[in-house]
């Protein structure tokens, strides 16, 4: 297999007085969608935040296209083509829908994602483009958050709990849009509570338990029981 696009190598990280991750390692290959699963507090969000540079770590712990980028400032990592759709969406409340999208793309890379293709993907956003972003429904806000990340034309996009707090019908709509994102060659890491949905979408998975990798591989290679044990722990 070719060299990985992104290598996470013995990554340890956390907050000032609390370590959340202990020696996590895995690879993400070009064009691949990877599901990151685990119980609440397993360290999934911490891992995504560390990858994009919102939390510090040692340089060699995150390697992108052969460069050690761990601990670089977030703005530099984003410029390299790694984008995060944050948990809770966190749209800029004093910006309109369109401004949220524009600011996502302004300092990003060139590529096929711009306002037009996005409005084609999520037509409702065109209709609401001048509305304050936080006036939208939860599902629509999630579309803006995804769009905002796509506007930077990332080669790796990290999704943090994109279905959290949304109605099942909306979740279905959003997941229906994901293949048109990954089909453009974008690699993805998906953090998701709904393990079945995540494993159905991804080609590989990593399961975290209390800050350590408890199981990793391809969804088809592991039994449901095995994954459940890795998810909840054996105690």
């Amino acid at each position: 297999m070719s060299a990985p696009l992104l290598r996470i190598d013995a990554l340890s990280s956390g907050y000032a007085d609390f370590q959340a991750l202990f020696g996590v390692s895995f690879d993400l290959h070009a064009g691949e969608a990877l599901a990151l699963i685990g119980a609440n507090g397993a360290g999934k969000s911490t891992l995504l935040k560390t990858i994009v540079g919102l939390l510090p770590c040692a340089p060699q712990m995150v390697v992108h296209r052969g460069d050690s980028i761990g601990g670089l400032s977030a703005d530099r990592i984003v410029r390299r083509g790694i984008a995060l759709v944050p948990e809770g969406r966190r749209l800029f409340r004093s910006l309109s829908v369109e401004e949220n999208l524009i600011i996502g793309g302004e300092r990003g890379r060139a590529g096929e994602w711009s306002l037009e293709p996005l409005y084609k993907l999520f037509p409702i956003l065109r209709e609401k483009r001048n509305a304050p972003a936080t006036s939208l429904s939860g599902g629509q806000q999630q579309m803006v958050a995804i769009g905002r990340a796509l506007m930077a034309n990332p080669e790796i996009i990290l999704f943090d709990e994109i279905s959290l707090g949304l109605a099942p019908a909306i979740i279905k709509d959003i997941y229906a849009a994901l293949p048109s994102i990954t089909s453009t060659g974008v690699s993805a890491i998906l953090v998701e509570q709904d393990v079945t949905r995540a494993l159905g979408f991804a080609q590989s998975f990593v399961c975290l338990q209390e800050g350590r990798v408890s199981l990793a591989g391809k969804p088809a290679e592991h039994s449901r029981a095995e994954i459940v044990a890795a998810y909840f722990g054996s105690h």
């Binding site: 919102l54 703005d75 944050p86 800029f92 910006l95 600011i103 996502g104 302004e106 990003g108």
Partner: protein, 287 residues
């Protein structure tokens, strides 16, 4: 007649106070920083204008072409070197660092320029006036008011129409997520401070032409600007102009009763607003 005249003069004076306040309001809006040295920055701008006018023999308003960029650069560097490291911790660090800056600037100016009062001459504009009906309006106060409106329009344009303005708003909303838009917060904050210092330079030039100034006059300018911000309502640029006008009118009316009441009347109106409408006259809708 005296009353009408005092009110009109007060409204025009409000333009100067809005200039004092706009920079204060801007940096608070973007990074929640209150610059205790803001008034001393204004006086620093006045002295800079004095030096440029005296050494190059320029009209003070032409000197703005030098003073404004120099002050903006000063603001940018100051933010990156001294103020960015204080942000995000607690309230104390930025407050005390800018307080220390205030003392340094005041005493620095004392060292170089002594405590003597100075004034910058602008070739007659400071005494020129136009008659509007029964009123005699000074050209300088009119220019101050027009500048305040232009500055607010300019800030509004920057905030709503430009990439920098979007970055200001985004960083103010959520500094962490703004980084994910490839924004470098340190640079954005420094740009906000540069803009604030540029406006401060304009205010300093007007101050220098309008009245005598000395190194100790900064804190009072900070207080006037602060009062305009609070009276107008935090985070509202036009509110800041309204706050400046209310303060200016209160002062000129106070002075009409007794010259000793001028500044006091402004303070009392400020406290009155604080008691009656603690969020100011024009509070931000989303705030």
């Amino acid at each position: 007649m005296d009353w009408l005249n005092a009110i009109v003069q007060g409204i025009l004076l409000g333009g100067l106070y809005a200039l004092f306040a706009a920079g204060l309001s801007l940096i608070f809006g973007v990074m929640r920083l209150v610059n205790i040295a803001h008034g001393d920055f204004i006086v620093l701008g006045s002295y800079l204008a004095l030096v440029v006018v005296q050494t190059l023999g320029l009209n003070p308003f032409v000197a703005a072409l030098i003073v404004v960029p120099v002050m903006a650069l000063f603001g940018y560097v100051l933010q990156r070197v001294l103020l960015n490291p204080t942000l995000g911790k607690d309230l104390l660090a930025p407050l005390l660092v800018t307080f220390g800056l205030s003392i340094i600037i005041q005493n620095g100016l004392l060292t170089f320029f002594t405590a003597d009062s100075r004034r910058v001459m602008a070739g007659g504009i400071e005494t020129a006036s136009v008659s509007v009906g029964p009123l005699n309006l000074g050209v300088l106060p009119l220019a101050m008011f027009a500048t305040a409106i232009a500055v607010i329009l300019g800030l509004e344009f920057i905030f709503t129409r430009t990439s920098l303005g979007r970055a200001f708003r985004a960083t103010s909303d959520d500094a962490e997520i703004a980084k994910l838009m490839a924004l470098d917060n340190r640079h954005i904050y420094a740009m906000a401070m540069a803009l604030s210092a540029g406006i401060v330079a304009l205010a300093g030039i007007f101050l220098a032409v309008r009245t005598n100034f000395d190194p100790s006059t900064g804190p009072m300018r900070l207080i006037f600007g602060f009062e305009a911000v609070i009276i107008g309502g935090l985070g509202s640029l036009w509110g800041t102009l309204a706050g400046g006008v209310v303060l200016g009118v209160a002062q000129t009316l106070g002075a009409l009763i007794d010259p000793g009441y001028q500044v006091l009347a402004g303070h009392l109106v400020f406290f009155l607003i604080l008691i009656l409408r603690p969020r100011g006259l024009f509070p931000r809708m989303d705030g």
